[in-house]
């Protein structure tokens, strides 16, 4: 807003100063032309006013054009042209007026001539300043430090030269000439900056040429008009505002004309090479498209299509195909302006003629293969250029570009397309990596779900009795594991307990563990004898356990009426039992082989039921081999003795406390909570 107000103010100042110039200069000229009027105004006054006019117009355009960011080059040229047009039309209008009035006394009067001159001078200076500001933008389009300094010197120097003119120092001939020539030279140097021309496209160049030509024409016309008028006035009166020795105006005339002419010539000679520059620009854009396709495209197919499109448009191919043929993908043929049949014909032709190195997946040689196509009858194509596409070192396809001209591809094109093919390979590789990452993420999610499901297979609440209390803990090495424990109440005085360990770990083990749970829940409710439980479990598992897999387990039935425990051990780690009245603990090492090891009826010979009595204060420790085989940093196992002594330290406490102590000691021993096996413990405390 402020800028706008200032611009308006400057315009107003410009008009006022011009009117003042008009008044002062005309009165001087008038008093000089008629001898009876005494000259009252000092002769240097119009010069000062002219400089004020110049300053206001200069800043007017500076604000108007320099601040306008939207303008592009052609717009800028158009502005200059339009201003020139308006000014020239005004000037021509005055000429017409003069012509219409004919050769009267008025028209030949020097005062009238001076009026015309001042109008034309104002127009010319306005136009020059406008062009000067516009050219500044063009010159400083790609600026360097040095260029900015030079321009600042030029601009400030010119403005300072106004002072020289204003105060009308005794005209020192050499200073005048030196200043003028310095400005001309600097203007010439600055005119060498034409980088903006390169960024015009073909059409813009033509437009610019026309606009510049007309601009030059307006300049020449205004120069001519002004110099003619100044000449004729100068012949009649001694004092008037003569621009012909005004350094600022002269320097401006020279600079603006030179730059306009240079621009015109440079654009003209750049016309034939425009297409090359445009092509290069397109290559860059295409390259970006391929690189970006990884982030934006939904499938490999889009990457292939973009590769095909960009390659074709970059090398001006008449047709192209992209053959994708790798282990991971089905055979696919993407074509551009060529039928599948034609493409296949060429592929077969090259194959049957045993042309090596053209489309071979193994070959990474890319040659201009024109000569091989010459022998293919009925095909319109005369040149071919083929590239392999590699993803992770594997050749996944071939890109072939075709032209109807012989020798249609040059080295440049070969290089570009090869870069495209490489980039496409990288894009596809990245794409696959992303897919894999996503897939892995999905698997992780699945495993998380599996983990939750499996956790729910282990009981939240364990059976309790007036005679005993149970605590249990289980952790898996992987997301899911193969350890299992459970309790079930058979009737008011009998509770059954199980602890089991499936061989191996991970997902397979987890499946078998869930089978074991099913078996436990269906058999335990029937109140079967522990050895029968094992035999029947074995029978059921024979059909689902694969070769080499087995399950170790111990099954207990605790009878609170008889205070007796019956149990059977099927290859599971021996029970650790602490009798309250004896100091020493014992491991129950009795007969029994794991479930699934013997897959016939003879299994019953390998299993036996045992019985013992319990008393209040006894502690029964059940565990899986994940605990006894847990290793410390030196490779030593936790072992049976350590297990016994650790539990012994706290045997008088409740089952939960004993369990917590055991797990704490286990972690202390291993130095980590990530034990490389599933580990489970179940503590039964009798009371």
């Amino acid at each position: 807003m402020r800028t706008k107000a200032i611009t308006r103010l400057l315009f107003l100042v410009g008009v006022i100063t011009w009117l003042a110039l008009l008044f002062t200069d005309i009165s001087i000229v008038f008093s000089a032309s008629s001898s009876n009027i005494r000259q009252e105004l000092p002769v240097w006054l119009p010069g000062v006013i002219l400089n004020l006019y110049i300053l206001s117009v200069f800043y007017y355009f500076k604000l108007k054009i320099e601040r306008d960011d939207v303008l592009n080059f052609v717009d800028l040229l158009w502005r200059v042209f339009a201003t020139g047009l308006v000014f020239t039309v005004i000037s021509l209008g005055l000429r017409l007026l003069e012509f219409l009035m004919g050769s009267t006394r008025l028209t030949t009067n020097v005062v009238f001539k001076d009026l015309l001159y001042l109008v034309n001078l104002a127009l010319m200076i306005g136009f020059l300043l406008m062009a000067f500001t516009a050219w500044k933008r063009l010159i400083l389009y790609q600026k360097s430090k040095w260029l900015i300094r030079l321009w600042a010197f030029f601009e400030i120097g010119l403005l300072l030269s106004l002072l020289y003119n204003t105060f009308n120092f005794p005209v020192v001939e050499w200073l005048y000439a030196t200043l003028l020539s310095v400005f001309v030279v600097v203007g010439l140097v600055l005119s060498g900056n034409m980088k903006w021309v390169a960024y015009l496209n073909f059409r813009q160049k033509w437009t610019s040429l026309l606009l510049l030509l007309l601009t030059i024409f307006y300049l020449l016309y205004l120069f001519y008009t002004n110099s003619a008028l100044a000449e004729s006035i100068g012949n009649t009166v001694p004092h008037f505002t003569d621009y012909r020795n005004h350094i600022f105006v002269l320097s401006l005339i020279v600079f603006v004309t030179i730059y306009s002419t240079f621009s015109f010539l440079v654009i003209l000679f750049n016309l034939p090479t425009t297409s090359v520059f445009e092509q290069k620009l397109e290559e860059v854009v295409n390259f970006q498209r391929i690189s970006q396709s990884i982030q934006t495209e939904q499938s490999e197919e889009s990457v292939y299509n973009i590769l095909l499109e960009t390659s074709v448009s970059t090398v001006f191919a008449d047709a192209a195909w992209l053959e994708v043929n790798s282990r991971q993908l089905n055979y696919k043929l993407f074509t551009y302006k060529i039928t599948d049949k034609e493409a296949h014909d060429i592929i077969t032709h090259l194959k049957t003629h045993n042309v090596k190195g053209v489309l071979e997946q193994s070959s990474d040689k890319t040659k201009n293969l024109s000569k091989h196509l010459a022998s293919l009858k009925g095909s319109r194509f005369r040149s071919i250029l083929a590239f392999p596409i590699y993803v992770k070192g594997e050749n996944i396809g071939t890109l072939a570009l075709l032209k109807e001209l012989p020798e249609g591809f040059n080295k440049e094109m070969t290089k570009i397309v090869s870069t495209f093919a490489n980039q496409a390979g990288i894009s596809i590789e990245n794409f696959r990596l992303m897919e894999e990452a996503l897939q892995n993420e999905r698997y992780k999610e699945e495993l998380k779900i599996a983990k939750t499901v499996q956790k729910s297979l282990l009981p939240d609440v364990l059976e309790k009795d007036d005679d005993f209390e149970v605590a249990a803990f289980s952790e898996s090495a992987d997301e899911v594991g193969g350890d299992y424990y459970d309790t079930i109440r058979i009737n008011d005085h009998q509770v059954s307990l199980i602890i089991a360990d499936v061989s191996g770990k991970g997902t397979t083990a987890a499946f078998h563990m869930s089978q074991m749970k099913g078996i436990f829940h269906s058999l335990a409710q029937e109140d079967v004898e522990p050895d029968t439980f094992m035999v029947r479990s074995n029978q059921a598992l024979v059909y689902c356990l694969e070769r080499g897999s087995f399950i170790s387990a111990i099954y207990f039935v605790i009878n609170s009426q008889t205070k007796k425990i019956r149990y059977a051990r099927a290859g599971h780690c021996p029970v650790l039992y602490f009798c309250a009245d004896k100091e020493k603990a014992i491991y129950f090492k009795d007969k029994g082989i794991a479930l699934g090891m013997v897959r016939n009826k003879s299994y019953k010979n390998f299993i036996q039921a045992n019985e013992f009595e319990y008393k209040a204060g006894d502690v029964m420790v059940l565990y899986t081999d994940g605990i006894t085989e847990a290793k410390d940093a030196k490779g030593e196992e936790f072992g049976y003795e350590r297990l016994e002594s650790v539990v012994d330290e706290v045997r008088s406490l409740g089952p939960k406390e004993i369990q917590d102590h055991l797990i704490k000691k286990l972690y202390e021993f291993t130095g980590t909570e990530n034990i490389n096996d599933d580990y489970t413990t179940m503590i039964v405390k009798f009371r």
Binding site: D501, S503, G504, K505, R547, G548, S549, F550, S552, A570, G571, H572, C573, P574, K589, K591, G592, I593, A594, M597, V598, R599, N600, F606, D625
Partner: protein, 112 residues
């Protein structure tokens, strides 16, 4: 890590296990036994003298051959086990299914 050596003595195939057998190395054990069977040996001696540790997966390999050997009348004897390894076999009850000898001499007598 397991290292498996095979040599023939008195018509028997002696498979020596050196190191540890876990889930991944149990495959090598399986391959070694399968190879021995494939070559037509009916007497297989497994030297466990240098076997430091065997996991349940490793035991599963021995287990999986029991019935096949019975059917085809192939005799396999394990010998030279350390106490720790023997304990692993005993807990699972494999000592009842497999023939386990004290040393090579005894093992040879058992397959004879």
């Amino acid at each position: 890590m397991i290292h498996i050596k095979r040599m023939q003595e008195d018509g028997a195939d002696v498979i020596a296990l050196i190191g540890e057998i876990d889930a991944s190395s149990s495959i090598e054990l399986d391959l070694a036994i399968a190879k021995s069977v494939g070559e037509g040996f009916t007497k297989i001696l497994v030297d466990c003298g240098a076997l430091e540790y065997i996991s349940s997966a490793g035991l599963g390999v021995f287990m999986s051959y029991i019935e096949e050997f019975k059917d085809r009348d192939i005799r396999m004897v394990l010998f030279g086990m350390s106490e720790r390894v023997a304990n692993t076999f005993n807990i699972l009850g494999l000592n009842e299914l497999l023939q386990i000898g004290k040393d090579k001499v005894e093992a040879k007598q058992m397959v004879a």
